[in-house]
C-alpha cells in the first residue's frame, strides 16, 4: 500500500506534528510519501527529507502554495491522489481546512481526527467532544484521513528520503491571501510543548496571566487558557485549550484557576501528568488531576515560581 502524508509547515520549518502524522501512517503500514507544498520552502523540505519512515518527499515550490490556500492545495493533492490508497493530513487548522475539499473532489468520505488505527480501513476517533469514542470503518477505496496528533508518537528525524521536485501548479484563481496576524512568542507552540501552564477564569484578568510567565520560563512551557478566560477577553483565542481550541497532550499540564468544564477537559485530558491549582476543592478539575492543590492562585503561583 502507498500512503501520501501532506506535511504541515510554514515554509521555513516543518511542524513537529507532521512527525506524529507519519507515525500514524506507519501504524497503517505501507510506503510513505511526504508532500511539501509551499513557496521558498527549502528548509521545510530539508527537514522533511530527514523524517524516518518516509521514502520520498514530493516538493511543489510555487507562490500559489505559499499560504496553503485550500482551493489550490486541494487541487494539487487531488491530482497526486491516484497513486495512493491513503491520504493523511494533520488535524490542525491547515489540514482541517483543505482536507475535506480533497475528499469531496475525490468523491470519498473523510475520517476526521483519528486517534488510533485498528486496520488499514478501520480507525478510532473521538465524537461528542471526546465523551464517546467511535470505531469507524471506511468503505471507500481511497481513505482520506486527518490525524489528531495526541494519539500517535513522533517518528525520529535521522532518515534520508529521496527528494523529488514537481512542477505541478494548481491555481484555482478564486481566492487570495490578504494578511496574517500571528502571535509572536518566544515560547514553544501549544501543540509541540512538553509542558503547558494554562489559566482560567480564576486569573480574573489578562494582566494576571503575567503570573504564569516566570513559571513558564523556568519550565520551558507554553501558556494556554480555558475557553472561559478567552470568552472573558483575558487572552486571545489562539491560546485556547479545549474542544473548540487546541487539543494538547504534554508531559505536564498545569491548570491554574480552571474549574475543569467538560469542554476544557476534552482538550487536555490525555496529558501525561495533570496538576490543578484551584481554591475550590469541589472543582471538577481535581477529578482528573494527578496532583491537586487547594490554594489561592495568587499565593500559590509566586511560591511555585520561587521553588522551581
Amino acid at each position: 500500500m502507498s500512503i501520501l502524508v501532506i506535511a504541515e509547515h510554514d515554509n521555513s520549518s516543518l511542524k513537529t506534528e507532521t512527525l506524529k502524522t507519519v507515525g500514524a501512517a506507519q501504524k497503517i503500514g505501507g510506503d510513505i510519501t511526504l508532500l511539501v507544498a509551499g513557496f521558498n520552502c527549502q528548509n521545510a523540505v530539508e527537514a522533511a527529507s530527514k523524517v524516518n519512515g518516509v521514502s520520498k518527499v514530493l516538493v511543489c515550490d510555487n507562490a500559489v502554495y505559499e499560504h496553503q490556500l485550500a482551493e489550490n492545495i486541494s487541487l494539487l493533492v487531488t491530482e497526486l491522489a491516484a497513486d495512493y490508497e491513503h491520504i493523511l493530513a494533520t488535524a490542525l487548522t491547515t489540514g482541517k481546512n483543505f482536507m475535506p475539499r480533497v475528499a469531496a473532489l475525490l468523491d470519498v468520505s473523510q475520517i476526521s481526527d483519528i486517534i488510533d488505527v485498528e486496520s488499514s480501513d478501520t480507525f478510532v476517533r473521538p465524537i461528542y467532544a471526546g465523551n464517546a469514542i467511535a470505531t469507524v470503518q471506511s468503505l471507500d477505496n481511497k481513505k482520506v484521513i486527518t490525524v489528531r496528533t495526541t494519539g500517535f508518537d513522533a517518528v525520529a528525524t535521522d532518515g534520508t528520503a529521496e527528494v523529488i521536485n514537481l512542477d505541478t501548479v494548481t491555481d484555482a484563481g478564486i481566492s487570495s491571501h490578504v494578511s496574517d496576524e500571528l502571535t509572536v512568542s518566544a515560547r514553544p507552540d501549544l501543540g509541540a510543548a512538553g509542558v503547558i501552564i494554562s489559566g482560567g477564569r480564576g486569573m480574573q484578568n489578562g494582566d494576571n496571566f503575567k503570573l504564569l510567565d516566570g513559571i513558564a520560563d523556568k519550565l520551558g512551557a507554553a501558556i494556554g487558557a480555558s475557553r472561559a478566560a478567552v470568552d472573558a477577553g483575558f487572552v486571545p483565542n489562539d491560546m485556547q485549550v479545549g474542544q473548540t481550541g487546541k487539543i494538547v497532550a504534554p508531559d505536564l499540564y498545569i491548570a491554574v484557576g480552571i474549574s475543569g468544564a467538560i469542554q476544557h477537559l476534552a482538550g487536555m485530558k490525555d496529558s501525561k501528568v495533570i496538576v490543578a491549582i484551584n481554591k475550590d476543592p469541589e472543582a471538577p478539575i481535581f477529578q482528573v488531576a494527578d496532583y491537586g492543590i487547594v490554594a489561592d492562585l495568587f499565593d500559590a503561583l509566586p511560591e511555585l515560581e520561587s521553588k522551581l
Binding site: 499560504h67 468520505s109 481526527d113 464517546a132 469514542i133 470503518q137 478564486i174 481566492s175 501528568v273 494527578d290
Partner: protein, 250 residues
C-alpha cells in the same frame, strides 16, 4: 444577495451524552436537542448581513427527519426569511449532506453560504469544505470576521498561531468559529411570527443522488476514565512529587 444557512439539529451542548450498553451508538432517547452552536452563529451572521442591508434574503436549511423542523423554526424566529427541510430518516455522511446542499445551491444561487465549522455531535468539521469543493466555490473556514466588499468577501480566519485573512471571490462558503458573533435570543413575538414563515419540505430521495453510506460505525465506547490523583498540602510537596514521583521536571 441571497444567503443560505445550513443548520444541524444536535444534542444540547449542556447535556452529557451516554453510550448505549450495546455500544451501537450514544443514547439520544429523550435528550434535549438544539441548533448546533456553530450553526447558531451562522444564523446570526446571516441575519446581521440582512440587517446591514447586504443580504436581501436569508434561508435556513436542514437535512433530517421531521424533528429538525423545530430547529428550522428557531432559525426563522431568529430572523431567517424562509426554511427548507430535506427530509430523510437516515443519518447521512457529511459528503452526502454536501451533495444534497450542492443541489439546493444550484437551485437557489446564493452568493454566500454560511455554515458552522463543525457539529458538536460527530465533530467532523467537513460539510462546509466539501460543499465548497462540489460547487467550485472558495472557502473561508473558522471565520472570526466576515466582510462583504463588492464582488469579494474578506474572511479573517482563526488559525494555529493567530489570524489569517483571505479574500474570496463571490459566491463563497464561510464556516463560523466561536468569536464571529454572539447569537441573539429569539423574542416571543418573533417565535410566534416564525410559525407563519414558509418552510418547504423536500424528500431527499427526490434529489437523484446516491446516498449510500461510505462509512460504517462499528462501535461506540465511553472514553477511558482518568483516575483522580492526590491532593497535596503545600507547594513544596507538589514540587517534590513532580520531581521525584512523576519525574516530569528536574
Amino acid at each position: 444577495m441571497k444567503v443560505l444557512v445550513p443548520i444541524k439539529r444536535v444534542i444540547d451542548y449542556n447535556v452529557k451524552v451516554r453510550v448505549k450498553p450495546d455500544q451501537s451508538n450514544v443514547d439520544l432517547a429523550n435528550t434535549k436537542m438544539a441548533i448546533n452552536p456553530f450553526c447558531e452563529i451562522a444564523v446570526e451572521e446571516a441575519v446581521r448581513l440582512k440587517e446591514a442591508g447586504i443580504a436581501t434574503e436569508v434561508i435556513a436549511i436542514s437535512v433530517g427527519d421531521k424533528s429538525c423542523q423545530e430547529q428550522l423554526r428557531t432559525a426563522l424566529a431568529l430572523g431567517e426569511d424562509r426554511a427548507i427541510q430535506i427530509e430523510t430518516d437516515e443519518s447521512l455522511d457529511a459528503l452526502n449532506i454536501a451533495k444534497l446542499l450542492q443541489k439546493v445551491v444550484e437551485e437557489e444561487q446564493p452568493q454566500l453560504v454560511i455554515l458552522g465549522k463543525q457539529s458538536i455531535d460527530s465533530d467532523n468539521n467537513q460539510t462546509g469544505q466539501m460543499l465548497a469543493a462540489l460547487t467550485g466555490m472558495p472557502q473561508g473556514t473558522f471565520a472570526s470576521v466576515v466582510k462583504v466588499e463588492g464582488e469579494k468577501v474578506n474572511v479573517t480566519r482563526e488559525v494555529d498561531g493567530g489570524l489569517q485573512t483571505v479574500a474570496l471571490n463571490l459566491p463563497a462558503i464561510v464556516t463560523t468559529d466561536l468569536r464571529l458573533n454572539e447569537p441573539r435570543y429569539a423574542s416571543l413575538p418573533n417565535i410566534m411570527k416564525a410559525k407563519r414563515k414558509p418552510l418547504a419540505v423536500k424528500p431527499a430521495a427526490d434529489f437523484g443522488i446516491d446516498l449510500t453510506a461510505r462509512t460504517k460505525l462499528l462501535k461506540v465506547t465511553p472514553p477511558a476514565q482518568r483516575q483522580a490523583g492526590i491532593v497535596v498540602e503545600s507547594i513544596d510537596e507538589l514540587v517534590e512529587k513532580l520531581k521525584n514521583e512523576a519525574k516530569v521536571i528536574s
